[in-house]
């Protein structure tokens, strides 16, 4: 689990650029994530953090540079393609269907079927519930009511369901855009502990946050973006809040 420099990167971006007309949202940006590593992405509003992860996850194409997955150059035409390659993006606005159970959300779009009476295809709710229980157990999330719609759960719990879906489908790289922004303090702590679980399982995590406390609590490294440019990269153990803030605002 002490991975940093030795192991080969899971994901690497090299000199990635993206402009929207005249706006250079991302400029020659490079970074890497290794297995079992949590990399925090910090930067002021409009620095280009969301642009970066959208370029990585196939929401749109970068205008320059390349993305390497386990050393191989890749391009993703759609988020679906990125997901198939094991890159899962968890958005702050919680991409869950609130009226469905945890299992139904994990399997949304890929529901398992079984045969009732030997011929009639029906949704295999039991298989979904079992998988949900196992998956959420791996995240130390102990579910008592598997049939309850996720609207019954709190924001942090639903965040855990979104992460659980990624874990079930065996995503190796999880990208989280401000996963704690909409949550209260106890809930934020739960999400942080979920990120620790993902790290322990050897997955790579890119974690965007405005909250330096969260970043210092969970990350191995921090990469700072300033107006689309990589303004610095530090090991968490070798930096402090003041230095990070200075990198963010420049000067």
């Amino acid at each position: 689990m002490n991975s940093s420099e030795q192991t080969a990167p899971l994901l690497e971006v090299r000199r990635l650029s993206k402009h929207f007309g005249a706006v250079q949202a991302l400029n020659d940006f490079s970074m890497a994530v290794r297995p079992g590593e949590v990399v925090a992405l910090a930067g002021d509003n409009g620095a280009g953090k969301t642009t970066l992860i959208k370029a990585i996850s196939g929401v749109f194409q970068p205008t320059g540079g390349e993305i390497l997955l386990r050393g191989q150059p890749v391009t993703f035409a759609t988020p679906q393609e990125a997901r198939e390659k094991g890159i899962e993006t968890i958005y702050q606005d919680l991409a869950l269907a609130d009226n469905l159970s945890i299992g139904a959300n994990i399997f949304l779009g890929r529901e398992p079927m079984r045969k009732a009476f030997g011929f009639l295809p029906v949704l295999d709710r039991k298989a979904m519930a079992v998988a949900a229980k196992q998956t959420m157990g791996r995240l130390d999330f102990h579910v008592s009511r598997l049939d309850a719609p996720v609207s019954n759960f709190s924001g942090g719990q639903r965040q855990a369901v979104a992460i659980g879906r990624a874990v079930y489908w065996d995503a190796q790289i999880l990208i989280m855009d401000e996963p704690t922004a909409a949550l209260g303090v106890p809930e934020q702590r739960k999400v942080i502990s979920l990120i620790h679980q993902l790290k322990a399982q050897g997955r790579g995590v890119i974690f965007i946050s405005h909250n330096l406390q969260d970043i210092f609590a969970v990350s191995d490294r921090i990469v700072v973006l300033r107006r689309g440019i990589q303004a610095g990269e530090r090991k968490i153990s070798e930096t402090n809040h003041d230095e990070v803030v200075k990198l963010m605002v420049g000067g």
Binding site: P79, Q80, R83, D93, L94, A95, L96, A97, D98, N99, L100, A104, L108, G109, R110, E111, M113, A116, L120, P121, V122, L123, L139, D140, F141, H142, V143, S144, R145, A148, S151, N152, F153, S154, G155, G156, Q157, A160, L183, G184, P186, E187, K190, S193, L194
Partner: protein
């Protein structure tokens, strides 16, 4: 703000526990249509006994009449249930049903010239359902490809189907000359009208599609959060297209059965039933915001409306009271839905 969870190390769902008020309210909201139905039947029973000394609900003739009465609105309402769960609405169903009734009459008569009576009947029903699918395809394309809101797109189709139905009928009703067709609409099997048997089978099939297939599951997901459904890789456009074809075909079957019952096709067959179909779905527990509802809830909703309409006539109340009674039930039903929504919503704001 109202977080109930104590400081705990793991993330166990607790918001739904230890809160009897919530689950009580949720259960009432879910089963409200059956509660309404039971209440209404008791009311009419008491009313009938007090004023005429006769039973209302234990009279098999009444039960049968109510069941037949409920068939056509129920067929529209099952299709409408799917559409409303997806977060849409289909205003064109009434006139699609009229169009289908006219097509069923014409097709049965034309086929009857060349082939045996039962075959002609089958062909007539098939033609009605298929022709009804055409406006469904157009609705689906307008909504999924051209991004026209369902309310507007199907309102346009309401006009188009209406005009087409009246043109095809030549402005009058079209009598059906087919003995089997008449039997289908008015005959009984061990005392149970064929129409009711067909509707019951149909309802079970639709319940299966909604509750046990991917199509049904995706329909709920789309109604709750289209973006989540899209990100999960669901083909939203294809789904919406199939959805509106399905609802139109329900209306198509409704039209064919109307033609069987009255041995005539009429363009205005479904005109008064459109609002009843929406009402049945809402009374049945679906939310007009999408994401919730069941077929059996809708069945109860359709029965509530049928019992009100038939019951008020039975106890000799002026028919106009029907509108008021159905309207009040809709309003109460929506109020319950909102109360439940606000109550469970308050738990999530933190």
């Amino acid at each position: 703000m109202t977080s109930t969870s104590p400081t705990e190390t793991h993330v166990a769902p607790q918001a739904d526990h230890g809160d009897p008020a919530r689950s009580w309210l949720a259960r009432v909201a879910e089963g409200r249509a059956w509660l309404f139905l039971a209440g209404l039947i008791i009311c009419f029973e008491v009313w009938s006994r007090l004023s005429f000394g006769a039973t209302f609900v234990l009279n098999p003739f009444n039960v049968q009449s109510i069941a037949i009465f409920a068939v056509a609105p129920l067929l529209l309402a099952t299709g409408q249930t799917f559409v409303i769960i997806s977060g849409g609405i289909d205003l064109s169903l009434g006139f699609i049903m009229g169009l289908a009734a006219v097509v069923a009459a014409h097709a049965t008569n034309m086929a009857g010239v060349a082939m045996p009576v039962p075959l002609a009947m089958m062909l007539g029903i098939l033609a009605a359902v298929i022709v009804a699918g055409v406006p469904g395809v157009i609705n689906g394309l307008l909504i999924s490809r051209l991004r026209i809101p369902p309310f507007i797109g199907t309102l346009g189709m309401f006009g188009v189907a209406r005009g087409a139905a009246f043109l095809l009928a030549g402005g009058t009703t079209v009598p059906v000359q087919n003995s089997w067709f008449a039997l289908l609409g008015n005959g009984r099997f061990y005392g149970v009208p064929y129409l009711v048997i067909i509707a019951a089978v149909f309802v079970v099939v639709m319940h299966y599609i909604l509750s046990q297939t991917r199509f049904g599951q995706h329909n709920y997901a789309i109604g709750a959060n289209v973006q989540a459904a899209r990100r999960a890789g669901i083909d939203i456009r294809g789904h919406i297209l199939r959805l509106y074809v399905l609802s139109a075909m329900c209306a198509g079957l409704g039209g064919a059965l109307y033609a069987a019952r009255f041995t005539a096709g009429a363009a205005q067959a479904g005109e008064p039933l459109l609002l009843d179909s929406v009402a049945a779905v809402v009374i049945g527990g679906a939310s007009l915001f999408g994401g919730s509802g069941t077929i059996f809830g809708t069945v109860a909703g359709a029965l509530v409306i049928a019992v009100i309409q038939y019951g008020l006539v039975f106890v000799n109340v002026e028919p106009f009271w029907q509108f008021i009674a159905v309207g009040l039930v809709i309003i109460i039903s929506v109020l319950i839905d909102q109360a439940q929504r606000r109550f469970s919503g308050a738990r999530q704001d933190e």
